[in-house]
């Protein structure tokens, strides 16, 4: 016993007089906190927000978005030419570009990277594989990409992480790379402890403006509660993705923190499987859409932190038009009655959701919609859930007739909010199985022309048809929120939702 006491005492002494592990000025680093998790930092595999966002800070591509806008400008490409038929893209690449390890970045590297993505067939590969016929280096600084068909949003895809170049000397051509990424952006990864933290340091070989803060440490928390506690305790300088609505509301009143809010291109919707009974009936779908009170969902569950949405194209994007009917319960009741439903013979349906994929508010959303539909007195709505993997399986097999889904764009173009939802060959992937020849024609046409004005007009037409048919009930558009200590500068709420750690300073 005595010996144990002595041991503890000496341990305490050693600890209190021991050396410190790191000595840095407080200005040298910023600590961010998140609840997101890394899957893979190989651009060929990364396909969810956080991994992509890290890549956006440690890598670059041919083109990039101007921070805070949706405007695309050249990055590693000096300029490019598009053939008249819109299928051949020829890029001139800047000279003297280097990876963080000193290896050069040139046209060969780009051709290698694009072909590698297509060969590896990972989750996001279809973005390139579906349209790219070939990619080759004409000379050291000239890259030629040939498309299978003219495709207007292609430049947007090039701004996405899937198109980032990787070092052929490090990344195997036929395998996903799991090591520490070789950087081409403002930062490089110094330390990666999965599920715990990621340390980013300046990339000494970066060709652009160097990152404002030498070190960014991103702490990963399991859930919003942990993130929030870390924020309140001062452990982190900023919290990005994702605090719970009630926590955000509370922290907004807290003078010790500053909250930044911006629109997110993320949308949520109810999907109807039009092949499943009784959802094949457009009138019934419309009736239900009248009964959904988006404002209540936004206000009570999300504390106003989402924006009600009445079309699939989010606000802030060209082509957006709120076309769907707003909440009108009397109309809903009238339509349901005209369809033959009554209090004694109500419409009996099941609403599905997935409990964790869209955060812990999801069950509340499902329950609130259930309650809203039942408020008509003519609907009996059951609520069921399935874990994500099962959920995906269910909707692709058409098991679920009515379910909640969300959409985060792969590239920033209205096409990405219309085609996957409404085009005949794409809609089964959304679980809707909706098909409309007129819409198919319009969407195809919108892909081949480049004029934004003309394309926007085509999308308006599509949305109008959609409003009548209601194969989806769009619910709301997300917002992005950053809560930071007041001394943190450089936080930009980007419409494309690229969070740029390299612009942060304090």
């Amino acid at each position: 016993m005595k010996r144990l006491g002595l041991l503890i005492l000496s341990l305490i002494l050693v600890i209190s007089f021991g050396s410190k592990s790191f000595a840095m000025s407080k200005k040298d680093y910023i600590i961010a906190g998140t609840t997101d998790k890394i899957t893979s930092l190989d651009p060929a595999k990364a396909y969810e927000y956080f991994s992509d966002n890290i890549l956006q800070n440690i890598m670059g591509g041919l083109v990039k978005y101007i921070p805070g806008t949706t405007k695309i400008v050249p990055d590693m490409a000096k300029n490019w030419k598009i053939s008249k038929d819109g299928t051949v893209y020829t890029f001139k690449i800047k000279k003297g570009l280097k990876f963080s390890n000193g290896d050069p970045i040139d046209a060969k590297v780009y051709a290698f990277s694009i072909n590698r993505v297509i060969r590896l067939k990972q989750n996001p590969a279809f973005l390139l594989a579906d349209v790219v016929k070939s990619a080759k280096a004409l000379d050291k600084y000239t890259l030629q990409i040939t498309l299978k068909y003219p495709y207007a949003p292609f430049i947007s895809i090039l701004a996405f992480t899937i198109s980032y170049p990787v070092d052929p000397k490090v990344y195997p051509a036929d395998k996903v790379y799991n090591g520490i990424p070789v950087a081409s952006g403002p930062y490089m990864v110094k330390k990666l402890v999965r599920g715990q933290e990621i340390e980013l340091v300046r990339n000494p070989n970066y060709y652009g403006k160097k990152a404002k803060t030498p070190i960014i440490l991103i702490k990963i928390y399991r859930e919003a509660n942990n993130l929030y506690m870390a924020l309140l305790s001062g452990e982190i300088d900023l919290a990005y993705r994702t605090l719970l609505p009630q926590q955000l509301k509370q922290v907004q009143k807290n003078k010790k923190f500053k909250t930044y809010t911006g629109d997110s291109p993320f949308i949520r919707e109810i999907v109807f499987n039009v092949k499943a009974k009784p959802f094949g009936n457009a009138k019934l779908r419309r009736a239900l859409s009248y009964a959904v009170n988006r404002k209540q969902i936004s206000k009570e569950i999300f504390k106003g932190q989402v924006t009600p949405l009445y079309t699939l194209i989010p606000a802030g994007m060209w082509g957006h038009k709120n076309v769907m009917p707003h909440y009108h319960i009397k109309k809903a009741i009238k339509m349901l009655k005209s369809l033959g439903y009554s209090k004694s013979k109500p419409l009996s349906i099941t609403l599905w959701y997935s409990p964790s994929h869209y955060g812990s508010t999801e069950s509340d959303v499902a329950l609130m919609i259930k309650n809203q539909l039942e408020k008509t007195g003519l609907v009996k709505c059951k609520v069921k859930y399935a874990e994500w993997a099962t959920y995906v399986d269910y909707w692709t097999k058409g098991v679920m007739g009515m379910f909640l889904l969300g959409w985060y764009p792969d590239y920033f173009d209205p096409d990405d909010y219309m085609w996957p939802f409404l085009q005949t060959s794409a809609s089964p992937g959304m679980g809707s199985f909706y098909s409309n020849k007129k819409i198919d024609k319009l969407l195809k046409k919108a892909r081949t022309i480049t004029s934004i004005k003309k394309r926007a007009r085509l999308y308006y037409k599509v949305q109008k048809i959609m409003a009548k048919q209601a194969p989806y009930i769009p619910l709301f558009q997300g917002q992005q929120h950053v809560v930071a200590k007041p001394n943190i500068r450089g936080i930009i709420m980007d419409p494309v939702q690229i969070f740029r750690y390299y612009l942060l300073s304090k």
């Binding site: 509370q250 009570e300 309650n371 099962t390």
Partner: protein
């Protein structure tokens, strides 16, 4: 004679600590049983409909406040007892219905079958039950029956082991030998001689298991593998309430948590007291 015996037993029950424990446990259980049986009369509101503004503090109209959708917490706690009892009952009954006969028969037959089944049962028994239940619950999906079944699987070995080991001892005892000698058939021996001798200890195990099953269910619900909302369930409400704990909405966590604690306490005190009553304490010999 009988009344005298009962009187003496009651006196003994109240007389010492294990008796008190038994009575307190019984008292708690009776309260929960009343809650479950008379839930519709006791609960002021429907547990599955919004009945007020969201996140009301405990107050006269909502004794335990409301949750973020405006559901009445008090009503949900009361109705939650039904869920706890149903799951625990189904799980233990299924486990017992499989474990007891298997243990009886396998223990009685013995031989290779015995060693194989016992090895399988022991493996499941040694393995962390919750982890197995998680895997099975994930497979079966939501719902009362499915959750109960995944919990039941975990407890089958418990019954099997208790019964088998007793059967093996009883089997060699004289009166069974005697019964066999006079030509009784195996089923007769099992049901007439072995089962009655094994049952008392089973009752204790059963009661302890119910407490365990309620805990496991709460754990599954907490991990998001339990009962689908809006069905009132303490474990789900607790995990949901955890999201509001930093806003000091303590009532969402405290009340369902207390309900779980008290019912588990009830069952374990009840079974502990019962156990000591059936197998008097070794300490007395000291």
């Amino acid at each position: 004679m009988l009344s005298e015996k009962i009187g003496k037993n009651i006196k003994q029950l109240v007389g010492d600590s294990s008796g008190i424990m038994f009575l307190v446990g019984l008292f708690l259980l009776i309260i929960f049983v009343i809650m479950a049986v008379f839930a519709p009369y006791l609960a002021p509101y429907s547990p599955i409909k919004p009945t007020g503004a969201p996140l009301l503090h405990p107050q006269a109209s909502h004794l335990m406040g409301t949750d973020n959708l405006g559901y009445d917490v008090f009503s949900r706690v009361i109705f939650g007892s039904r869920m706890a009892f149903s799951i625990a009952a189904i799980a233990t009954v299924v486990a017992a219905a499989i474990g007891i006969p298997t243990g009886l028969i396998v223990g009685y037959i013995g031989g290779k079958l015995d060693s194989v089944i016992t090895m399988i049962m022991d493996s499941v028994y040694t393995f962390p039950g919750l982890i197995l239940a998680i895997a099975i619950a994930a497979m079966l999906g939501q719902g009362l029956i499915n959750i109960s079944l995944s919990i039941a699987v975990v407890y089958i070995p418990t019954y099997y082991r208790v019964i088998r080991s007793q059967v093996v001892t009883i089997k060699s005892e004289l009166y069974v030998e005697g019964a066999r000698a006079i030509g009784a058939k195996s089923p007769t021996i099992l049901s007439k001689y072995v089962l009655p001798n094994v049952l008392p200890s089973t009752i204790v195990v059963l009661s302890m298991n119910i407490a365990d099953a309620i805990m496991t269910e709460a754990g599954l619900s907490f991990l998001g593998l339990g009962i689908a909302p809006p069905t009132p369930d303490w474990g789900y409400d607790l995990s949901k309430g955890q999201q509001f704990i930093l806003q000091n909405d303590w009532w969402l966590v405290v009340f369902p948590g207390l309900a779980i604690i008290l019912i588990v306490l009830g069952f374990s005190m009840f079974s502990e007291g019962l156990n000591e009553y059936l197998n008097p304490n070794i300490g007395e010999k000291r």
